[in-house]
């Protein structure tokens, strides 16, 4: 009799270069195709071959936002994976591993309530001609053990390997079928997962791809980037889609070039962006100020990794918040957005493009490795997305323009914007302070007027667009605060607390600039206790909120081991605080 599950956690473990990430992703896709909600997260060191990688997939019949719970099935492509993760296994768990390790591992399994499933991974993949097929044998085995459908897996494999040689696809299919048949023949079926109709408009996306899709929808035309983990998948994605969507994607000589390409292209009238991580963003800071001063709209995606310096290139952190808020000398308006999941990354990226052009200033989208590279089933609808280009002048409008002043002082601070090629719109975009025409000026009165003009612009953004998101009853005495990617783990924690009848109000802050000061202040004042969760060691958002509202959030939970929050930890912290009331 197999156990019927509504939730499953599957972990893949193995060396880098064994194709484990692909295998894990295929498993995630399988669950997605069977109508389940999926969350998947990877963990890998900064190297190409060897080392220890994991890919963990959770699937559930209801919406999920993060990993939670013990591992039900461990797919161990090497011995180390068994040794390292054996304590993460649930009671009645399954371990799929290479049959050749049976002797060495049998001792470990006997003392635990584990159902061992040895499969001849290396032996059979060697027969197929390459050890890489071990992955597909393992996935076939997985699908076999959960009462899954081989046809669904085959379809995914066909899509995945459609661009490869026929033989490669055939071997992958053969490997998956072998794994499936092998477990069917030799083992009982421990679990059964429901197979449902796939829901419309639900996609399995990671944060980086969500930003790419939204930027394409928003009409990005130039992407200039220098590779840097964990932002590089944006460069790869954009390059792969550049011809389909008619965009130019340039890998530049360094990050300084990348941002200056973006400034040039945006000045010339196209939507232009770059993506990087903290180190690359450090190199871009001078040009960020240039964009602010010369009023050039553009988008910079900063996918945080653990710093400072080279830091931990493939691990996550939320420690660049105050840096991106304050980066570059002098004062100028900027937009700083911190989406919490791939759906928000999609919608807010689209909004940010419009905001940047409305107020003619640079915008920063702050992701992190955890959000950028974790997959989640999210709903995306593109119907109501409208590109708005602010006061960018059309050729027709400029045809009869007289005495055009690019930096004209206006009540909103926003001035009409011409682009090269338009008659009557000639001006110099300058990195120097300038007068209304764009000509360099050191006049003190002009200086004050231009500073004030630029600062005023942010008020033109509709406040509805940058409000925090609230969850739970507004009357709950305890307010939980977070920003960016911590959202998912906290939402999962709230499910537990809800079941335990602990009422919580949760405020997820999406924008640091513009900042919804009044809303945040009101929420903090009306709560009797508050706690903030942040992935840094100095509680940066807490400082920022205090600076903006004058209120100090009294409780903090900080995580700076370069790993994302865990649901259990969040639940415990909140419960502790709740019980101390």
């Amino acid at each position: 009799m197999s156990t019927k599950l509504e939730n499953i956690v599957v972990k893949f473990g193995g060396e880098a270069g064994e194709g484990l990430m692909t295998a894990g992703f295929i498993a995630a896709k399988y669950f997605q195709r069977t109508g389940l909600f999926v969350f998947a997260e990877n963990d890998y060191p900064s190297l190409i071959r060897g080392g220890h990688n994991t890919f963990t997939v959770r699937a559930n019949t209801e919406k999920i936002y993060a990993l939670d719970g013990k591992v039900d099935i461990l797919i161990a492509l090497d011995k180390r994976s068994v040794l390292e993760h054996i304590n993460e296994l649930s009671a009645n768990s399954v371990v799929i591993f290479d049959k050749k390790l049976e002797g060495e591992l049998s001792q470990i399994f006997t003392n635990k309530n584990i159902y061992p499933v040895p499969v001849p991974l290396t032996q059979h993949s060697a027969e197929l001609g390459d050890l890489i097929y071990s992955n597909q044998i393992a996935i076939g085995s997985l699908i076999g053990l959960i009462g899954g459908k081989l046809e669904i897996l085959s379809t995914i494999l066909k899509e995945k390997f459609s661009s490869k040689k026929e033989e490669i696809l055939e071997k992958n299919l053969a490997a998956a079928t072998f794994g499936y048949d092998f477990v069917k023949m030799h083992f009982k079926e421990p679990f059964e997962l429901p197979i449902k109709e796939q829901k419309k408009n639900y996609y399995l996306l990671d944060g980086n791809d969500a930003v790419c899709l939204a930027s394409i929808k928003a009409g990005v035309k130039l992407v200039a980037e220098y590779p840097m983990s964990p932002s590089s998948s944006i460069l790869h994605w954009m390059a792969a889609h550049s011809q389909d969507y008619g965009i130019v994607v340039k890998q530049t000589e360094d990050e300084i070039a990348a941002i200056n390409y973006v400034l040039g292209a945006a000045y010339a009238g196209v939507r232009a962006m770059t993506a990087t991580s903290g180190g690359g963003f450090s190199l871009m800071t001078e040009a960020l100020g240039n964009a602010g001063l010369a009023e050039i709209p553009c988008v910079i995606v900063e996918v945080q990794r653990a710093g400072p310096s080279t830091g931990l290139p493939t691990y996550t952190d939320q420690a660049d918040l105050l840096f991106v808020i304050n980066a570059s000398q002098g004062e100028f308006p900027r937009i700083v957005c911190m989406p919490g999941d791939p759906a928000e990354a999609f919608y807010e990226t689209f909004n940010v493009w419009n905001m940047a052009e409305l107020v003619q200033t640079p915008a920063i989208i702050l992701l992190d490795k955890y959000l950028g590279e974790s997959f989640q089933t999210v709903e995306i609808k593109t119907d109501n997305l409208v590109v708005k280009r602010g006061l960018l002048q059309t050729d027709q409008e400029m045809e009869n323009a007289k005495q055009f002043l690019r930096h004209k002082i206006t009540p909103s601070g926003i001035s009409p914007r011409s682009i090269p090629g338009q008659k009557n719109g000639l001006y110099v975009a300058s990195s120097y302070e300038h007068d209304e025409s764009g000509y360099s000026s050191e006049d003190p009165l002009n200086r004050v007027m231009q500073i004030d003009k630029r600062a005023r612009k942010l008020s033109a953004i509709n406040p509805q667009l940058y409000q925090p998101v609230f969850f739970g009853p507004a009357t709950a005495p305890l307010l939980v605060v977070s920003w960016g990617s911590s959202k998912g783990v906290i939402l999962e924690a709230l499910k537990h607390l809800n079941r335990q009848n602990i009422p919580i109000r949760y405020m997820h802050i999406k924008y640091a600039i513009p900042f919804a000061t009044d809303t945040v202040k009101e929420a903090l004042v009306s709560a009797s206790k508050s706690i903030i969760f942040e992935g840094n060691s100095t509680a940066q958002m807490r400082s920022y909120i205090r600076q903006k509202t004058g209120i100090l959030i009294e409780n903090v939970c900080l995580k700076y081991d370069a790993r994302p929050f865990q649901v259990e930890q969040v639940v415990n912290e909140i419960k502790k605080l709740y019980q101390s009331q």
Binding site: K217, N260, Y261, A265, I419, P420, V428, G438
Partner: protein, 285 residues
Amino acid sequence: MVELSQLHEPTHTITWCPGCGNFSILAALKKAIVDCNLEPHNTVIVSGIGCGGKIPHFIKTYGFESLHGRALAAASGIKLANHKLEVIVVGGDGDGYGIGANHFIHASRRNYDMTYIVQNNQIYGLTTGQASPTSEKSMKTKSTPFGVIEQPINPIALALAAGATFIARGFSGDLTHLSNLISQGIKHKGFAFIDVFQPCVIWNHINTFEYFRKKCYKLEQTDYKPNDKFEAFRKAFETDKLPIGVFYQEQRPTYEDELPQLSTSPLVKQPIDNIDIQKTLEKYL
């Protein structure tokens, strides 16, 4: 036809020192724009920071006065966004061979269709007289009171090695010759690089107008042919006498030519208001 008077910016005071070599570079550039009949609204002059970086304010076209050293990067973005624009980049030796040297190398090899003029006065002027990447060995400056220790950069050889397709040197003491080189650079399809000897009358008392008048000779008045890279290298290392004129020219497809995305119209002319991403989105089902 564009006329010289159209390029004039009557309200912008030129702030260079009296006798500065930049005046004739400005005049030569204006003359080249007229000679090549470039429309001011379809021309962008991009500069970096330094004395010569102020040049976009003194010619009535579109302009982009970028950060120190970043002119070529900004210009590359402009060119990719709208490759129908005429893009002319102007900057000093500190800007292009020091802080921005990386961009110089890579813009050269990419062969964007643009013209890059370097006002090479072998000194940092605007920051009041420090050594530059082209300051001669042993030259005493504020930052090298005991003399420059390292070798100067050889801009011509560097451009040759990096893959620029039009490489020339002018002298700001010979306006007509320089203007003609700039015109050739503008007409050249690809990355045209023109290094210009530009005496700084305040901070550089070695490489003066007098110095260059004695040492310069014109390549076109010899039997030199600018079509052989190895010969061009030989010329680039002549120091007793200093050749000016075109060192090297070749035809190679530009970066823009190789992009199918630009084959129908410039990026900036492509509509973006209703892009359908559904097909791509469905890959995530």
